[in-house]
């Protein structure tokens, strides 16, 4: 008689208990210990579903939303919508299911999505009250009228516009052309977003490129403002100093010739700085550059912000002025050629510094960040970057820039009843390639409410004509929008 089986049933029960214990331990490991690792595992689409389950805060310009989340019928509860399509895309960026996010959508994501630590109290009270957690809002410094004017002006052109409030550094307009509709990347539909993305990537006009912040251009003659500032600050030049301005000069140490745009000498062969700027005389500024030397130009360019990185809060491309130049390179760099490169943002900063009596303010795009309850979380302060020139030099440069618009190459930027200060430029890009037309300005000349830089790609090589013809009207429209003229 082998007994009642009680012993073996009990031992089997222990085995069964161990099986259940293993299951319980394992689900604790999966759901607690490994949970955060699994949550951030690449390819886990639940992160996105969670993210899209919260109402993302809006991005605001002049009190209206330029990016806003609305309820959606699909698996994702909310969808991002950009009511003005591509108008503000250089600032907002996009918020895509599969291509991530860019611009303010990326930099201010913690606030917009509501995960910012400053919002944790709000999250706790939402949890207690059973309210869904929402994100905060971001108010941009952009002026809607100026933005629209810049975009209208750039229609059909390729390039960038940046407008800055000189007294603060606040960015009033930030426009790329061509632009794209960020809505097509935010449709919450993988295949539609993929199709739109491949279209945008394949477009030779590069609509995805954030031209005002991310692309550097040779600044050409607009850089003469920097050379002019360096000349006046050096004490070697005053308003009456005669500068040799032949039809062309031989670049020292090479066989190359630097001619004036029209192939003729400026004035009677010697001009003042004011006349040199008004007619954009290459040989005169090359001579000034040679007299000052590469190091002096480098120092002046760096005071304006060249070779520095700016977060607006997106990191803008660094504008460059090279060091260790030989005389020939110095002569070319003095007129914004050779290896000098500038973003539209940087040239707007140059104009803004002149308008602001020499003080350079760091540019910024975010005016204020609000919590979901619309209580201000943070207001961007004015952050001076440095002093580029004395107020006296600034006044002298301003007067000469007024001359450019009143009777020089920039007459297309004239605004009735307002004194406008400006500078044209047509920069050579590469041999055989079209030029970049520039116009850099601010208005009014006294006080300087707005500084603008406009660059138009694909311009003909026609001296200063393109800068005045293609870029100046855009700058004028933006200034008029700010000045309410």
């Amino acid at each position: 008689m082998i007994g009642s089986l009680a012993g073996t049933i009990r031992r089997l029960s222990i085995f069964v208990a161990l099986l259940f214990l293993a299951l319980l331990v394992n689900i604790n490991l999966v759901q607690v210990t490994r949970a955060s690792g699994l949550a951030t595992q690449p390819g886990n689409s639940r992160i996105l579903i969670k993210e899209y389950a919260r109402q993302r805060g809006p991005i605001l310009v002049d009190g209206s939303s330029v990016a806003v989340s609305v309820t959606s019928s699909g698996r994702l509860k909310f969808q991002r919508i950009y009511p003005q399509a591509g108008l503000f895309v250089s600032a907002t960026g996009f918020y895509s299911l599969i291509y991530g996010r860019t611009g303010i959508e990326r930099i201010e994501d913690p606030v917009l999505s509501g995960t910012d630590p400053r919002l944790s109290l709000q999250q706790i009270s939402d949890l207690i009250a059973g309210r869904p957690t929402r994100g905060g809002s971001v108010i941009l410094t952009i002026n809607a009228r100026a933005q629209l004017a810049a975009a209208e002006g750039m229609r059909g052109k390729v390039g960038a516009v940046v407008a800055i409030q000189p007294s603060t550094g606040a960015i009033l307009a930030l426009v790329q052309s061509p632009t794209f509709d960020p809505n097509q990347l935010a449709v919450n539909d993988v295949s539609a977003e993929q199709a739109a993305w491949s279209r945008l990537i394949a477009d030779p006009a590069q609509p995805l490129l954030n031209r005002p912040l991310a692309r550097v251009y040779p600044p050409g003659s607009t850089f003469k403002l920097v050379t002019l500032t360096a000349a006046l600050a050096s004490g070697k030049y005053d308003l009456t100093t005669p500068i040799p301005s032949p039809a062309s000069i031989h670049l020292p140490g090479s066989t190359a010739i630097l001619p004036n745009d029209n192939g003729r000498q400026c004035g009677n062969g010697h001009v003042t700085l004011a006349v040199a700027l008004a007619v954009s005389c290459n040989t005169a500024f090359a001579n000034v550059g040679l007299a000052l030397g590469g190091d002096a130009l480098l120092a002046q360019a760096q005071l304006f912000g060249f070779n520095s990185s700016f977060q607006v809060p997106m990191t803008a491309a660094t504008s460059r002025f090279p060091a260790g130049l030989d005389p020939a390179q110095t002569a070319l760099s003095a007129i914004g050629q050779f290896d000098v490169r500038s973003t539209a943002l940087q040239m707007a900063m140059v104009a803004a510094a002149i308008a602001n009596r020499g003080v350079v303010n760091s540019p910024y795009l975010v005016q204020q960040v609000l919590g979901p309850d619309l209580a201000p979380l943070e207001t961007t302060p004015v952050r001076p970057f440095g002093v580029a020139m004395s107020p006296l030099v600034a006044a002298e440069v301003t007067a000469m820039m007024v001359g450019v618009v009143d009777f020089g190459t920039g007459t297309n930027a004239q605004i009735p009843g307002v004194q406008v200060a400006g500078k044209t430029g047509t920069a050579q890009t590469a041999p055989g390639q079209p030029a970049d037309a520039w116009f850099v300005s601010f208005a009014p000349a006294a006080g300087g409410d707005v500084a603008v830089a406009v660059v138009v790609e694909g311009a003909p090589h026609d001296g200063q004509i393109s800068g005045g013809r293609l870029a100046a009207p855009v700058a004028k429209a933006v200034m008029k929008a700010i000045l309410n003229k």
């Binding site: 089986l5 012993g7 208990a17 949970a35 699994l38 698996r75």
Partner: protein, 475 residues
Amino acid sequence: MSTSLAAAPPAPPAQPTPRARRPRRRAELALLVLAVGIAVMGFAQADLAVNGHLPPRFWLMAALAAGAALLAHAVVRRLAPYSDQVLLPVAFAINGLGLTMIHRLDLAAARSAAARGHQVPHATAPTQLVWTGLGLALLFAVLALVRDPRQLQRFTYTALVAGLGLLVLPLVPGLGVTVNGARIWIRVAGLSFQPAEVAKIALIVFFSGYLVAKRDALAVARTRLLGIEVPRGRDLGPILVAWLVSVLVLVFETDLGMSLLFFALFVALLYVATGRRSWVVIGTVLFLVGSTIAYYAFGHVRVRVDVWLHPFADPAGSGYQVTQSLYGLADGGVLGTGIGQGSPDLVPFAKSDFIISAVGEELGLTGLMALLVLYAILVERGLRTALAARDVFGRLVACGLAFVMALQVFIVVGGVTNLIPLTGLTTPFLAAGGSSLIANWMVIGLLLRISDSSRRPTAAPAPVADTAMTIVVPR
């Protein structure tokens, strides 16, 4: 160790008064109220969370659930009045939770189809509800027809034939269908059915009956092989048959889970019946040899093992199911998203094989642990029933039924949570699938019957003709 098995059987619960009142089963009634309440509230919550209003015909459904529970309670009180009072409520709770989760996944499927402009797919919950009704009917039938568990012993070899017949049914051309690579289904008149689920009950009956007859020979008669005591060759027959049955299932039906389940069940019953550890050793060795051969011989076995070891190696391909399941479980965390507020439909087969990860996501670790504890209680009550049974046959049947439930839960939950390689098995009472549901209600019926007969204070019915010694003492 076998000597300790000679311990006296637990005394049958002696009733001091021969004409004791029939138990009122108030505990069962109270627990049933709780079980039905949980399921009905989950049902309401799913619709409230997904659609913002109560389900259509909510009160009708609630009344139906309460009515079914009351009916089951009344039938059990009538037909098995002394049986365990916990089994029925726990089965109701799990079945109700399963219906809730399946309904919730139906809502997700409808919503997702509507968002894409597709036609709303056929809902699974109503079908599952019909199967639940059928399961309860079979529970009643078991209680009504099997008035004494020892009746079943007469059908030992009938059960073998029936069990093997059911097992090979899907292999019959024209009857069996291959779903997701496994040929474990038959389709009759548009209804699909997995015969192995019912076959396991028949095979438990066979093995219990066989072991009652042969266990002394299996336990005592030994020969020595390489210095180890092993059973005689002819006594090895049944375990070899069992092994062959599971190999057959594995090779021809590519049903890893069921194959493992059968094999482990037979080894466990052999051990319980004979008390010889050598059976466990032999079983383990055969299992290791079999799995090694299966790993090298079958691509699908290799894939499962590779996914188990490296689930994130191919998360979009072979590892998709397991990784999605893990993501869902991790998303649920400790407290879960709440019913209707997660995305359990992202996991493939969320209504059937992966319903555990849906529970883990929406009810969290808390809910999943509670569910596992419910299963543990069910198994524990089954094993307790086995200990209390008055005859060896009843003990073995109850033990086999409880063990197969435990093992099935372990294999499927372990697979879904990547504790062990994933094999396709249904989660008892929870997962969508009629065959599993009705089979498990029949298991509850048998456990209730065995439990009732062991606790019945009055004299047991006259013993049935017995082919082997039993310890039943008629009183």
